[in-house]
């Protein structure tokens, strides 16, 4: 059964195959198919889907059971679909304008014949093994890296991908230029200027008052008015000294408040709360653990099973940064607020591990990155991460604060003995599902007459547990 119509200057025929319940829309216009051999026919898909919506709406009323597929004309090339396919299948190894694991694919269709490309992409290894000269040459030029086979891709899919590879490169994003232009202390500078200006205004006001006062006196003198001198009284401080009670009270008050402040000051000696040193690479937990939700254990992988959490070695960074050489423009713009060029920081990482972007290989020349250690307990205290993270099931954030919001890492907790003890008094031990605790839990809960035990009741206050 056929319906035909002319819509948007194109003749459309819809066939309904009643046996398979399929509906096919066919394009009958010649000049369109002509144009479609070129890649540029980009808005076709949207027009098509629009029409399709109209069709479906029409037919769904009368024939609700119709199963529905549109078969596009064979020559139609769809760059949007190509982009999706490229991102899903090829982007792990290919970039358009830069070498990655495989060569850059920009305009690769000009290098080889269509037929060759179909065969190569569906199964490159077969082609290499069959001795095809071009295939062997590419394979060897890339040190025998193997490209995955894609038997699931049809020739139409491949056409779409190839069409996508003709997308011209976008001009470099604007923020890049800005970063170099804006001085890094921009925000601070304008604040300073405002402060200085305010101070000047204030000074001017004082001088003016002084001058006004003087002129007034002059005028008074000239007019013969005698300015009355205030009569001599005992100055207030003398009166104060003469009143012994007041002196006593004041002395006690001063001593007490002095002691209070002195105590406060002494208690913070050796406490590094808020310590946030400048690190050799501006590494942001906000971006990694916050926006990209990378699990803390991904990098601090020994927290699960050993005393120290560990700072990740650079090979861990390269697991992702082999693919991420530059941050997205939005991220770069965020960086300007902090006065850093994120891309530059990633370059520092590359220099340190000795990664050469152009050849996508390690040069073997490395430099250590000297991260400045922030949390550091004195030598006489024993603290074990796995006990708290794995056994006690504590969140990193309980002790380290909202790390996923920190652009620059800082120490959140005071790390004093009082801090440890308070938590041991308040936090329950996780005894469930831990056969190790079965017996002691039973005995101790009988002894203390409680159902849940705090870490303190388990012995978390014994000096020897933390001091050795």
């Amino acid at each position: 059964m056929y319906f035909c119509a002319v819509i948007f200057g194109t003749k459309w025929c819809v066939s309904i195959d009643t046996k398979s319940n399929q509906l096919r829309a066919k394009l009958m216009d010649n000049n369109i198919t002509d144009r479609m051999e070129k890649v540029h026919y980009r808005n076709l898909p949207s027009t098509l889907s629009f029409l399709w919506l109209a069709l479906v709406l029409t037919f769904s009323v009368s024939q609700t059971t119709l199963a529905t597929t549109v078969v596009l004309p064979a020559q139609a090339v769809d760059t949007a679909a190509g982009e999706a396919l490229f991102k899903a299948n090829c982007a792990a190894c290919h970039k358009l304008y830069k070498k990655a694991t495989g060569p850059a694919l920009f305009q690769v269709g000009d290098k080889y014949s269509k037929e060759w490309l179909y065969k190569w992409i569906v199964n490159s290894q077969d082609l290499v093994k069959s001795g095809d000269a071009q295939a062997v040459a590419v394979f060897e030029a890339n040190n025998g890296a193997v490209m995955t086979a894609f038997p699931q891709l049809s020739t139409a899919d491949i056409d779409n991908i190839l069409a996508y590879t003709y997308t011209p490169q976008k001009a470099p994003t604007v923020p890049t230029a800005d970063v170099t232009a804006v001085p890094t202390t921009g925000g601070g500078l304008s604040n300073d200027i405002i402060l200085v200006a305010l101070a000047l205004v204030f000074l001017l006001l004082v001088i003016m008052l002084f001058l006004v006062n003087r002129t007034l006196r002059h005028i008074a003198e000239a007019n013969g008015v005698v300015v009355e001198e205030t009569e001599k009284r005992t100055p207030i401080w003398k009166a104060f000294i003469q009143n012994q009670f007041l002196v006593l009270v004041a002395a006690i008050f001063l001593l007490l408040s002095g002691a209070y402040f002195a105590y406060g000051w002494m208690m913070q000696v050796g406490v590094d709360q808020g310590y946030a040193p400048v690190q050799p690479i501006h590494y942001s937990h906000r971006i990694h653990a916050g926006s990209n939700q990378i699990d803390c254990n991904y990098c601090h992988s020994s927290a699960r099973r050993s005393k120290h959490s560990g700072i990740p070695s650079l090979n861990v960074c390269m697991n992702c940064h082999k693919s991420i050489a530059e941050v997205a423009p939005e991220t770069l713009a965020e960086g300007q607020e902090f006065g850093v060029d994120y891309n530059n920081e990633i370059k520092k990482l590359y220099t340190a591990v000795g990664w050469d972007e152009a050849s996508q290989a390690y040069t073997g020349k490395t430099e250590p990155v000297k991260w400045v250690r922030i949390h550091n307990l004195p030598d006489f205290v024993y603290f074990n991460h796995s006990q708290h993270v794995t056994v006690a099931g504590q969140q990193c954030q309980t002790c380290h604060g909202p790390v996923q919001e920190m652009e620059i890492m800082s120490q959140f907790a005071p790390l004093t003995m009082g801090w440890c003890i308070t938590c041991h008094r308040e936090t329950n031990v996780q005894v469930e599902d831990n056969a190790y605790y079965d017996k002691i839990h039973e005995e101790l809960s009988k002894k203390y007459g409680v159902d849940k035990l705090t870490a303190a009741q388990m012995g978390g206050l014994e000096c020897g547990k933390c001091h050795y």
Partner: protein
């Protein structure tokens, strides 16, 4: 006379104010605080992540000496080449028994280390892919890929092209647990039956001691 005392007073007041401002602003968050008699704070031994001139590069954090073998480590003989990968895919089998515990551990570890790229379901749609930071992560159900436990282990050990190695973050036991979970994800995606956990009674031949690391006992 009086003016002079007044002057003195205001000097004193100014001095106190300036001094307290100095004391407050002296706290510079980019430097550690003072310590009182830190004799027992500073370790005698070289401290984790300390900087000492004696080490090459000045850092205590170094790679282990060449040829170091961690406790419980088992040699892995397949080379880091395409042939090695294919061989591992063909013949390397998971020595670990399937138990509820090993599957649960596998899932937990997978969610930490792999899900951010491969997705919690293994469909290649992890958070980094969704945010378009890293692209082209394969689904485990891709028909062009042969996913076997041996292959999964091999890839974790050495990495593959733009995927890195996970050998420094996980130990042998954990890598096999992850491999079990990945096989389950693949089965779920393809709609084939999952691995069936054997009895949870600890008849396992595998040493579960994750703290000291790597022991996977021989069968």
């Amino acid at each position: 006379m009086k003016t002079i005392t007044n002057m003195k007073n205001s000097f004193r007041i100014a001095f106190v104010i300036v001094a307290s401002i100095v004391m407050v602003s002296c706290f510079d968050s980019s430097k550690p605080n003072y310590q009182y008699m830190p004799n027992m704070y500073k370790p005698v031994s070289y401290e984790t992540y300390g900087e000492y001139e004696i080490f090459p590069g000045g850092l205590e954090a170094m790679l282990p000496a060449e040829g170091t073998i961690p406790r419980g480590w088992q040699p892995y003989d397949y080379p880091n080449t395409t042939e090695g990968l294919n061989l591992a895919k063909a013949e390397l089998i998971n020595p670990l028994m399937v138990t509820d515990k090993s599957l649960a551990n596998g899932k937990q570890l997978y969610d930490i280390y792999c899900a951010l790229c491969h997705g919690v379901n293994g469909d290649g749609q992890g958070i980094l892919v969704q945010r378009e930071k890293i692209l082209g992560i394969p689904s485990y159900a891709d028909p062009g890929r042969l996913i076997t436990p041996g292959g999964i282990y091999h890839v974790q050990m050495y990495g593959l092209n733009s995927m890195g190695s996970y050998a420094s973050q996980t130990n042998e036991l954990e890598r096999w647990q992850i491999a079990q979970h990945v096989m389950n994800l693949k089965a779920t995606l393809e709609g084939t039956p999952l691995l069936a956990p054997q009895s949870t009674v600890p008849t396992e031949t595998v040493n579960m001691d994750t703290a000291s690391g790597n022991a996977v006992a021989e069968h």
